[in-house]
Symmetry: D2
Subunit: 342 residues, 4 copies
Amino acid sequence: MLIVMRTAATEADTARVVDYIKTLNLTPNPIPGAQRTAIGITGNTGALDPALFARFSDVCEAIPISRPWKLVSREVKPDDTVVSLPGPDNQPAQIGGGNFGVIAGPCAVESPEQLMTAAREVRKAGARFFRGGAYKPRTSPYSFQGMKDEGLELLAKARAETGMPVVTEIIDTRDVDLFAQHVDVVQVGARNMQNFALLEAVGSIKRPVLLKRGMAATLQEFLMAAEYICKNGNYQVILCERGIRTFETMTRNTLDLGSLPLLRRLTHLPIIVDPSHGTGDWRSVPALARAAVAMGADGLMIEVHPNPAQALSDGPQSLTPANFAKLMTSVKAIADVVGAKL
Amino acid sequence: MLIVMRTAATEADTARVVDYIKTLNLTPNPIPGAQRTAIGITGNTGALDPALFARFSDVCEAIPISRPWKLVSREVKPDDTVVSLPGPDNQPAQIGGGNFGVIAGPCAVESPEQLMTAAREVRKAGARFFRGGAYKPRTSPYSFQGMKDEGLELLAKARAETGMPVVTEIIDTRDVDLFAQHVDVVQVGARNMQNFALLEAVGSIKRPVLLKRGMAATLQEFLMAAEYICKNGNYQVILCERGIRTFETMTRNTLDLGSLPLLRRLTHLPIIVDPSHGTGDWRSVPALARAAVAMGADGLMIEVHPNPAQALSDGPQSLTPANFAKLMTSVKAIADVVGAKL
Amino acid sequence: MLIVMRTAATEADTARVVDYIKTLNLTPNPIPGAQRTAIGITGNTGALDPALFARFSDVCEAIPISRPWKLVSREVKPDDTVVSLPGPDNQPAQIGGGNFGVIAGPCAVESPEQLMTAAREVRKAGARFFRGGAYKPRTSPYSFQGMKDEGLELLAKARAETGMPVVTEIIDTRDVDLFAQHVDVVQVGARNMQNFALLEAVGSIKRPVLLKRGMAATLQEFLMAAEYICKNGNYQVILCERGIRTFETMTRNTLDLGSLPLLRRLTHLPIIVDPSHGTGDWRSVPALARAAVAMGADGLMIEVHPNPAQALSDGPQSLTPANFAKLMTSVKAIADVVGAKL
Amino acid sequence: MLIVMRTAATEADTARVVDYIKTLNLTPNPIPGAQRTAIGITGNTGALDPALFARFSDVCEAIPISRPWKLVSREVKPDDTVVSLPGPDNQPAQIGGGNFGVIAGPCAVESPEQLMTAAREVRKAGARFFRGGAYKPRTSPYSFQGMKDEGLELLAKARAETGMPVVTEIIDTRDVDLFAQHVDVVQVGARNMQNFALLEAVGSIKRPVLLKRGMAATLQEFLMAAEYICKNGNYQVILCERGIRTFETMTRNTLDLGSLPLLRRLTHLPIIVDPSHGTGDWRSVPALARAAVAMGADGLMIEVHPNPAQALSDGPQSLTPANFAKLMTSVKAIADVVGAKL
């Protein structure tokens, strides 16, 4: 923490702040400057709250200098975290540490036929993880809310046939045990990124968690949400950039690809990209997917539906199996250029 | 829904879309124009998904023209909803319909002394509702997380002594019965505004719900979140504008006061303002509180702490009891000018 | 400037940065901490560029601690700046220092009749400044672009008859002499807030400048734009909050009223509010205007048109003369409560 | 334009709107629906202003359905626009239509040595256009403002030696003739994207214009700014995505790569990407540059400085010549995969 005094502050004003810092059992380090005095604070083990100094009318600003995250930081753990699960063809399905994992499937589980067709098609094209929503968080209470536990059973069948681990979203703390039992990767959606009760709940189970960035979450908040999960004992967290909300409305979201190289420097957790939600238009999905692999992401999450025009949810952003297969060809070619293992 | 065809679309292209609309059991109304053809769709009872038309390459745009909310709409219920609870001095505590309700108290319940002092002071200054957080949603897992059920008990004591109904935040669906039993107004916080499981849960109890606007929630999403609660049978919903996230960082949030007159036209639900979170700095709270009453808001939610410098949460945005009392004087004077009952 | 080293930085790494600071003729003040070392820099007369330290891979962050503005700062000039011009009834028209000035008139000068009617009506209702656009910056090249120099002449006639000083927007550096000659208050619009050539040009004339906040301008950039004008010798600058661009689209802009108390603390310049652009809907203008006066703004800028339905520009946000007169009544009542001179 | 009536509107209310539309010499097409009536308007040649209908209290919404841009639209001109100039080695330097053009050079022209070194190095690595700012728009009036006309002369020398056409920014309408004479591609910067006087001025000269997207400009506004230039007779416009302003502050801007495939569908103009401003950190530039080429952009604009640590402007986002050369290798490899001519 750095305390910046007002230019008009006297030595006595500064002394008052210095004394207050000592009452917190911390060490004040005054730095007199040409225009104003600053006071560096040392001795704290965690982040201090700038709020503590807001009451001193002679304090101009209190600037935090430690970063509040710990367990997710690359400064704490320099090597990449790899999430590895039993996968198809008796080979592991992996994300992170140079392994590029593709998660594909429909937005929502709609029927046995729809789900099994999707699973077979994405597997054939090269996906190694399967996605499908059983519990759907929808903006409108009048929209399709998912097949719920029946959906989980269908996902289990898809895994049994194709060998792909399944990724599906949890939306209620009361479902944690159910998910721990039936699901391979538990997804926390963008709208629940700061549902701290849910973060703590999934932090206490032994399943990898795919954490989507909230629509208006800063990267710092994103990392702090991951920190909640790790703090409860679960270090298998995959970060997923899926677009943020900005003033632009011609795209569904603004995919913040620029966050990738920065997150890579800050954290050891794997980082994947969801271009389907990131743009909201299937015609833009392939270009953004190519971008993600060219940048060095650890994977992709892509919505594929056997018949997007009839999809009960997110049809316009879903690829057909044929377009997904075509996309996988260029994804592989770019992965070769950047040295990613697919 | 209005379908706008591309300028290059032929009559056959348009016919294909017209036919598709018929398969949905809806009525297509083609409107040939100078530059392009549009097709109005009628016969739908709810909102249609624009996504349905994204597959037609000759469709330029699909524009929804119905509004997706119903139960919260002023078109459905023209008169104001009033939330009324037993209040201090054997008079009701009311929000809405010309009644201006002030909710005040500390961000978090910290101790019996802190809470009772706060309750007495805000009551003395004219507040008729008491707030205090027992379960705290915090960005960092290392911050104070609240006194939890012990906090609920202390709030009950404050109500017993002062007569003020208590408002406190719920953060987990598993706590709904507990809150239904002990709390007068159940608050759903900004971070949980789209926690649909929680919205459904509080929609099924018989307690007024104070719903805070999410940090990046559009007004449409805000109203749809209220719709979730009403749809489950609970029509006692108070909307609370508390600031949105924008590019500006010198204030904690950007208080969207311009939303008030618009929401007033769109919905019958009462609308209050939280200037404490809206700005994040106690020095700016009084000006924004005066603005809210001058605009015709139905109430205020203000953080007051007996000793803000020692607050465990949100100290910098909390007023002292003396500053709160001073603010109430000017709030009353402006309420007189605009004809609000305080 | 405070330099924060990485946790892994060695003493030698820190020494390299210390040496570099010395080459800039500045004084490094190392502060060793529990987790990492920070280096306070003193001896600089202006703001340093954090960029200078981005090359050191052991530097975690470089945090500016001086504020970059000077001439506009309340730390430099504690008393309020007042803009005062000859006004109607041989009384000055004033903005700032407790004087609440109302600027009203149509968005665009359209015809002699329209302009003179508007001028008489707003004067009658109590406005002391008159606005009207002669050169219009329009998003579309196909929209009405203003009456240009003919418009300036009509504005001069309105001033001659009513005594109100006129406020109108400049959009081209080539027009500066023309404006200096004919206009009382030169407006720099939101889209030109960082047109630095224009800021320098209006800084060199002897006319008050009304500077509108850019749609995506931070408060720091807003103050720096004012600094450009002052630096060129013109200290008569009025800041105008007129709404910022956010994700919300149901209002034209998001009026950032929360910036007012903060700007008041940071600068001595007067601050007014434009609720017409701030919301884009005449039905919301009165509520926001009342809010501004209740908060302690130094004035209002309001669009009034004799016949909004026929307006060539911004009709939907313009008040009729009757609605403007009604608004002025409540503005005066609230001004009395907060002690502003109208 | 589609007019949506309120649910409570009577037939007489609708008739009033229908009559008004006829007074505008347009054709009303009423579409009675289950919940409300809508009125499609046809017969207009340009975009109508929704504002026209804001006065009718029974009108719920007025929705524009024509797009306001024309000359820049792919609907008007389906084939790609190619900007072609005499380039190095007696080969044209081209952007658009499958030609991938790389523009590189320092942020600012600082000295003959700095500029010539930069020019030689970027040419050697494969750039075919050279950039360098002579007139610098800076947030602070106390920052380096550029070498101005002396800078233009140095750029001409760089062109003479290397054969690369030069790209440099104009910031004042008074300089248009000077630029038309000395500069190959005239850049309009982000802060001037809606400086309409400047857009008209560069629209009237015979030089390609590189138009940067404004920090808070919607894609629609971006296209309309290009429309201003084309309307004045200059169709050689290159669009440049350079990052938008969002709530995220850990990156300098948020590079909106998702806009690329959408712009590609909407306009025939070439679209390039500036990853240097897009992220603000040289360490993130290569990943974003690779993303742009993988997506199918028409080119890149990259800041390269012989000695970034000593740069007078934007040092932290500038690549060294060595890093730029390394980047060009992977850009070429990815260009091969996606079929772009480099």
